[in-house]
């Protein structure tokens, strides 16, 4: 159809329409081909990225469920402006811990990190996923650049007091980076609020669970 070479045909509307339509047709076929060839790989990559990240903060040996599948978005305006993603880990049916995907405000924009806690509320690890802080200055929050981020390991609400949850400049426990205090401050306070959130959430969960269990027992009995 698109091979008519007679110039008079070319000025006809049908020709224009057919040309662009045909082009679209061909190209969409091509893309469908491309998509079929790659989409599985891509999906896998995306999943792997997430798992890899999770693995950094929570050893895979800790759980046997699929935290990503079990994840839920929770809005907790008391602690965080943006909704946070909660990825619960279970071993068998036992609650083993949780990973939180949290976004706070950094110096240069949103700062997105993931933190994981064991069932006892002790931090297993924290990793920054994406941020817009100044490279070379505040990017020491990345593990690649500095191991500052590991200073949270093992901390909990129990072993570190409210006052200690701050950068040294503010009389707290954690180092700041010279010349860029705002970023560490944001991370420290984010992690702290994450712990608080966890505490609340965990309590709700267990009360919900216990009431559910109680209910189940009730109905069972």
């Amino acid at each position: 159809m698109a091979t008519v070479l007679n110039p008079t045909y070319r000025t006809r509307l049908g020709y224009q329409a057919a040309l662009l339509g045909g082009m679209c047709y061909l190209m969409s076929m091509l893309l469908i081909g491309g998509n079929t060839a790659t989409h599985e790989l891509i999906d896998e990559h995306v999943l792997n990225d997430k798992l890899a990240l999770l693995a950094q903060v929570m050893p895979a040996s800790m759980y046997d469920n699929d935290p990503i599948a079990d994840s839920q978005l929770i809005t907790d305006s008391e602690h965080f402006k943006a909704p946070i993603e909660v990825l619960p880990a279970r071993m068998g049916n036992e609650f083993a811990g949780v990973a939180l995907n949290i976004t706070v405000q950094g110096w240069g924009g949103p700062l997105n990190f993931i933190m994981a806690m064991d069932a006892g509320g002790e931090i297993l690890g924290v990793r920054v996923i994406t941020h817009k802080e100044t490279p070379g200055l505040a990017d020491k929050i990345e593990l690649d650049k500095d191991d500052w981020i590991t200073s949270f390991d093992g901390k909990s609400l129990a072993n570190t007091s409210h006052i200690q949850w701050a950068v040294k400049k503010d009389n707290g426990e954690f180092d700041q980076f010279t010349g860029a205090t705002i970023t560490p401050r944001a991370v420290v306070s984010g992690v702290y609020r994450g712990l608080q959130f966890y505490q609340q959430w965990h309590q709700q969960q267990s009360t919900a669970q216990s009431t559910a269990v109680a209910k189940a027992e009730e109905s069972g009995s």
Binding site: L19, M23, M27, T38, I42, H45, P135
Partner: protein, 233 residues
């Protein structure tokens, strides 16, 4: 783009000279600036982007040259754009699937190769008027020309900004690129400016200034040589 109106394909040496130096996409035509400046925080990124652009250029120039006979002016732009967009989507998919790390760094800018003015510029100015082989050669020359500028700017900014060159090349491009990685200035905390947006503009500005100096020097030399020729005769 004066060659746009010449019906006869220029010689291959002209094509390459133009692409690599004289009429370089980035330095002569001032096109494709967005990716050029956005992703060149390191030489590695520049190389990745350059290769992606080269691939797209090659494919689109070829395809457009093939279909140039049947396109009419009324729908020319949309048709070319559809073609370019498809090719870019394919490349995007491919990089995402097979060079995922690089994809994460280049991000949005792969999709934006569609509107990279350089691609459309070449298609319009060259491929839509020339047979396949010169079109391919042109794409190749322009692509390589674009890539080297990307790498050069990336290198300038990376060295000044962090003292390294081709850092993370193995991570982004594959293990076989490990040999590229090097530290140029050890223990250098870097001039932040150069990897921030202002540094990008200024790096390109200085690169073009350097190109000018070289051109001028070459011309002076040529003239001197010509003069010398006169003297002996």
């Amino acid at each position: 783009m004066s060659e746009a109106s010449t019906p006869k394909p220029p010689s291959y040496s002209t094509i390459f000279r133009d692409g690599l130096w004289d009429n370089n996409v980035a330095m002569g035509q001032m096109l494709g600036l967005c990716p050029l400046l956005a992703v060149t925080t390191s030489a590695t990124n520049g190389l990745g982007m350059g290769i992606a652009t080269l691939a797209v250029l090659l494919l689109t120039n070829t395809l457009v040259s093939i279909i140039r006979g049947i396109v009419t002016p009324q729908v020319r732009i949309p048709v070319f754009i559809v073609l370019i967009a498809s090719v870019v989507t394919l490349v995007d998919m491919a990089i995402n699937a097979w060079m995922h790390e690089l994809y994460k760094v280049l991000g949005l800018f792969i999709a934006l190769i569609v509107t990279n003015c350089a691609i459309f510029g070449r298609v319009e100015a060259f491929a839509s008027k020339q047979p396949i082989l010169p079109a391919m050669a042109d794409a190749f020359a322009m692509g390589i020309g674009f890539t080297w500028v990307l790498v050069a700017i990336g290198a300038m900014r990376e060295i000044l900004g962090s003292g390294t060159l081709f850092a993370h090349a193995s991570l982004l491009l594959g293990e076989s690129f490990t040999w590229l990685e090097m530290t140029v200035i050890p223990d250098f905390s870097g001039i932040l400016l150069s990897i921030l947006p202002p540094g990008a503009f200024m790096a390109l500005g200085f690169l073009i200034a350097i190109k000018r100096l070289i051109d001028r020097w070459a011309k002076a030399r040529q003239e001197r040589a010509a003069m010398a020729g006169l003297v002996t005769e």
